[in-house]
């Protein structure tokens, strides 16, 4: 129970991932599969972002010259959040947008050719 509360971010990402996986495998509509794929990728982004988050933490930038309180103390590790996972996820978001674009373009092509986005109807036409 304690781990459930303390590590709630991990449970959220697992839940999201399972929702995405379910949609990808079980849904009949191709666009719903693509949405599932997007949720699946977002789950991993949430996972990475949550491991870099910290309460009452600031950005690790030393403000020169201004010299007002909290900003200067960000030199101490305890006071700033690790920016690297967040930066990595910027790239991952770009990748997932690219994947989404390609997947939707393929859906569009399928719709133009088969006049349907339902997997069973397309399979029937393929037989």
């Amino acid at each position: 129970m304690q781990s459930l509360i303390a590590d709630y971010n991990y449970w959220i990402y697992i839940l999201l991932m399972m929702i995405g996986l379910y949609a990808m495998l079980a849904k009949n509509n191709l666009v719903k599969k693509v949405i599932g794929m997007s949720i699946f990728q977002t789950a991993i982004i949430v996972f990475y972002v949550s491991i870099g988050a910290k309460e009452h933490a600031t950005i690790p930038i030393i403000a020169h010259g201004s010299g007002h309180g909290a900003v200067e103390t960000a030199i101490d590790v305890a006071h700033y959040a690790n920016p690297l996972p967040h930066v990595l996820m910027l790239t991952a978001i770009v990748v997932s947008v690219g994947t989404l674009g390609v997947a939707l373009a393929i859906c569009l092509g399928i719709y133009r050719r088969y006049n349907s986005l339902e997997e069973d109807e397309i399979q029937e036409q393929l037989q």
Binding site: M37, F40, I44, F47, A92, V102, I106, G109, I110
Partner: protein, 497 residues
């Protein structure tokens, strides 16, 4: 600027910039796309060869992108293992791009500039995956090559769109699993640099999180390489892709994924961890046995020539995964040598399939009837590829299979040896059936024309020359495989596992 010194970066940058250039010149005139693409890949091939020679002379190269020292900056690391894979990848893509000229004119005349842009970007992604020494950078390049691969496959005929859609879904699951595994490693170590991970991880080997990270990365790469229970996307995607695209993706994408698995096993986790501390090797070798046998049986059931080849790829992936997990240095040598050989063998057979589709307009086994008389040179090259797939000396396929079998005996895994032998037998049946159709049976005229005289009617030279080169290289690599093993592969395989 010293080009030799910059070669590890150039071999990725040249095709990357070429991809943009191809798109720009495509706006002016489609005819300029192919020469620019060939020049770009040729530049990349030259840089790969220079890099491999430098590695053989001076040892491992570490290239700091932007001058930032690792582990803070991204590092390109080239050792003997990926030097060899780099040369293979760029060599295969060079032959595939030359081959594509006539085939694209016939199959995709309106999409020439898009095709070559994606083609060169895919080569960039594959080379980048091979050269990088950073686990997250690898993910990005993995997705670059995957995205371009989806688009290239979707350009194919009617069924290609649906096949490509399934590939998008499964490929994304695979890449996401890899990313999740890297995330676990990052939480535990705070590092993404492979060499740095190798030094930090030994203190954490007892933790479950590290084991889970390895499992996630393995599952991710297995989906990407179509290891047997996860192979569902491959046969349709590779069968219905345009034949020129098939010649690039079929030989390379699965092989580079196998390379990544071996790289992660050896350079992120250590041989000590993957073979001794955790107890996975027995299970994975059994999975490989199942992959080899199922791939071979499914190949036997096909009437479509290209689909048969795709199931053979599934079986060959089983060879390499099994070889890598035999926990014997000979088996690992065999697996690495098989990456090179299988890339060339698959290229040879797919080039042949491309020529048959170009000349006959179909890929059914019956479309091969009477080909020995009409296209003797093409069929001679195909026969070399087929013999190599079966594993007949002195072709390359024999030697890697030989190392794999020795490794299986060395590691005491006799079921793996049996699977290899059964698979060779099935390959022999498959290819002799094709040779029989092509050699003995008279040509059945599907198009209802008058009975033709036998005229020698070879494919255009731009298709024939890559096929001849790859067939010759299969024999040359077979003859020199001893030298390749002692001078190149031997340096990257840890002894006494």
């Amino acid at each position: 600027m010293n080009f030799v010194e910059q070669s590890p970066a150039l071999l990725v940058i040249i095709p990357l910039l070429t991809a943009f250039l191809v798109n720009i010149v495509g706006l002016i005139n489609h005819r300029y796309c192919l020469p620019v693409a060939i020049l770009g890949i040729l530049g990349s091939f030259t840089a790969s060869v220079i890099t491999l020679i430098r590695v053989m002379q001076n040892g491992v190269i570490s290239y700091r992108l932007g001058g930032w020292p690792p582990p803070f900056g991204i590092e390109y690391v080239v050792d003997h293992l990926n030097g060899l894979v780099l040369v293979t990848v760029s060599f295969v893509s060079l032959l595939a791009v030359i081959f594509s000229k006539e085939s694209i004119k016939q199959e995709l005349p309106e999409k020439i500039s898009q095709f070559y842009t994606l083609f060169v970007l895919l080569v960039t992604g594959l080379l980048g995956m091979t050269v990088t020494g950073d686990a997250f950078n690898l993910y990005v390049l993995l997705e670059i090559s995957a995205l371009t691969g989806y688009a290239l496959i979707a350009m194919g005929d009617n069924k290609a769109l649906v096949a490509s859609f399934n590939y998008v879904i499964l490929g994304t699951i695979g890449a996401s699993f890899y990313l999740l595994g890297v995330g676990h490693l990052y939480i535990m170590t705070g590092s993404l640099n492979m060499a740095n991970l190798l030094t930090i991880l030994p203190d954490l080997y007892s933790l479950n999180a590290i084991f889970i990270a390895l499992l996630l990365i393995l599952i991710g790469t297995w989906i990407k390489m179509a290891f047997f229970p996860m192979h569902g996307w491959l046969p349709n995607a590779y069968t219905y892709a345009p034949s020129a695209a098939g010649c690039l993706v079929a030989p390379l994408v699965t092989k580079v994924s196998v390379y990544i698995m071996i790289r992660i096993m050896l350079s992120v986790f250590s041989p000590l961890y993957v073979y001794s501390i955790i107890n996975l090797s027995e299970t994975i070798v059994w999975m490989a046995v199942i992959a080899i046998i199922s791939g071979s049986i499914l190949a036997l059931a096909q009437n479509d020539f290209k689909k048969m080849l795709t199931y053979l790829i599934v079986a060959e992936v089983g060879y390499m995964v099994g070889g890598a997990w035999l926990a014997s240095s000979i088996g690992l040598t065999g697996a690495i040598l098989h990456i090179v050989n299988d890339a060339l063998m698959t290229l040879c057979l797919f080039l042949f399939a491309g020529i048959v589709i170009y000349k006959r307009g179909g890929q059914h086994l019956q479309d091969l009837a009477g080909l020995y008389k009409k296209m003797p040179v093409t069929m001679a090259a195909f026969t070399v590829g087929a013999l190599s797939m079966i594993g007949v000396p002195p072709t390359a396929g024999f030697f890697s299979k030989w190392y794999l079998i020795l490794g299986a005996i060395d590691g005491g895994r006799y079921h793996f040896m049996a699977a290899l032998l059964i698979s060779s037998l099935v390959n022999a049946i498959l290819f002799f059936r094709i040779i029989e159709i092509a050699y003995f049976e008279p040509k059945v005229d599907h198009h209802g024309g008058e009975a033709e005289k036998v005229i020698i009617e070879e494919a255009p030279l731009s298709m024939l020359i890559p096929l001849i080169i790859v067939a010759l290289s299969l024999i040359v690599i077979g003859l020199y495989s001893g030298e390749i093993v002692t001078n190149i592969i031997g340096h990257s395989v840890p002894t006494g596992i």
